[in-house]
């Protein structure tokens, strides 16, 4: 076992090393964000297009801030779902859903009514208005929603370790549990670095999708 910070940061064990934990972390994140998008994007877009029900979704998402993420993961773990990959992914997908859903709703809803009316006046059907006018104009907010969801899940995925799962949180909890400072420092550095790198990558990508977006970011929960 590694004993120094440098050894921990370069720990190459095929199942417990840095690479293995990073892959687990990204697998949790990817699966959870995919599920949240598969559910949240169509639902949010539909609610935004209809212009109804979205306020309820937004209110629910706001209340969600009060729900402790650790509590939800542990609740799932003591449920019949048990501990395991599925439990972690389902819990993480729940945390990713609010930003995806509310941004999709607001994005479609806030599309200039004039543009929508003009499209209707040109004889477009509801579906055509959605596909050719509302969706293209909503893309920046859709992207912003997915971005906050990814960051939220990257952060929360560290808690998979709390129910015996993998991911980079493993170093943090094992280090904390055994007062192994080099291990927990390595874990903290790796998790923080991952969050900052992903944040940077996504902000660059978002600027490509939406050149008008600033670096300002909506407040986010972990």
């Amino acid at each position: 076992m590694p004993t120094t910070l440098t050894q921990w940061l370069t720990y190459g064990d095929p199942t417990m090393g840095v690479m293995a934990r990073l892959v687990e972390h990204l697998a949790y994140t990817g699966a959870a964000v995919l599920i949240a998008c598969a559910v949240g994007l169509p639902l949010g877009i539909l609610l935004g297009h209809r212009g109804r029900g979205g306020q309820v979704a937004i209110a629910l998402a706001g209340t969600g801030r009060a729900v402790p993420t650790l509590g939800v993961i542990v609740l799932f773990a003591v449920s019949p779902l048990g501990t395991g990959f599925t439990t972690v992914v389902v819990a993480l997908a729940l945390f990713a859903l609010p930003p995806v859903l509310t941004n999709a709703y607001v994005g479609v809803r806030e599309v200039d009514r004039g543009a929508v009316e003009a499209a209707r006046g040109m004889g477009m059907t509801g579906a055509q208005v959605l596909r050719r006018v509302e969706l293209p104009l909503a893309v920046p907010l859709l992207a912003a929603g997915v971005r906050s969801a990814v960051l939220q899940v990257i952060a929360t995925a560290t808690l998979a370790a709390a129910i015996g799962g993998g991911g980079l949180g493993r170093f943090l909890l094992d280090g904390l549990g055994s007062q192994d400072y080099p291990q927990l420092e390595a874990g903290a550095v790796l998790v923080a670095a991952l969050a900052l790198v992903v944040e940077l990558l996504l902000s660059v990508m978002q600027r490509l999708v939406d050149p008008s977006s600033s670096s300002e970011r909506k407040s986010r929960v972990r």
């Binding site: 402790p68 773990a77 960051l151 909890l173 549990g177 400072y181 929960v221 972990r222």
Partner: protein
Amino acid sequence: MAPSRIVDTPNPWFSEQYLQQGRSQLLTALQQHVTITVVAVLAGLVLSLPLALLARRSRTLETVVIGATGVVYTIPSLALFALLVPVTGYSEKTAEVALAAYSLVILVRNTVTGLALVPPDVVEAARGMGLGAGRRLLRVELPLALPSIVAGIRVATVSTISLLTVAAYVGTGGFGQLIDQGFRADYRAQVVTACLACVLLALVADLLLLLLQRLLTPWTRV
């Protein structure tokens, strides 16, 4: 792996027996949770004011302050706690410092926004009445920025209550510790009760702050 549970074997989701037998540990957790939250948010509030005043001096300073605090906000909570442990140890101090830092990020942004929204002619009028910079700030600008600042305090408080559960792993007690113990003992009633108590605390705190804002800024009521 099932350490001693307080009550019976069927492992119910809700148990009156737990509410009775676990009363004292719930009250202790509540007290720890409230104390740390109050300390963290107040510390964040006190530190955020000078930073916000610094940020509004120039565009460059604003970018630097908002950017630097934003980096802190990107670091996942468990990683920030772990980074602090070698300095502040396994104690509530670790949680207080980390959560004060997160609160600070939210509060700086909201204070900067609130101050920027003060109508320039009001400031001009105060100047015309012979108020110096300090008095203008205290008597005119800060009161007018109060709704935005209190909105920040509400978000900071609710997130702090939720994030504090994670600090159980650095030995701060609170509801997070009950959730984790409940998981280790595979005792559902304890997990559910601690989660609900935590959500309830967040909602009550939010409501109290909303009432406080109404009392402090009667002119914003419509």
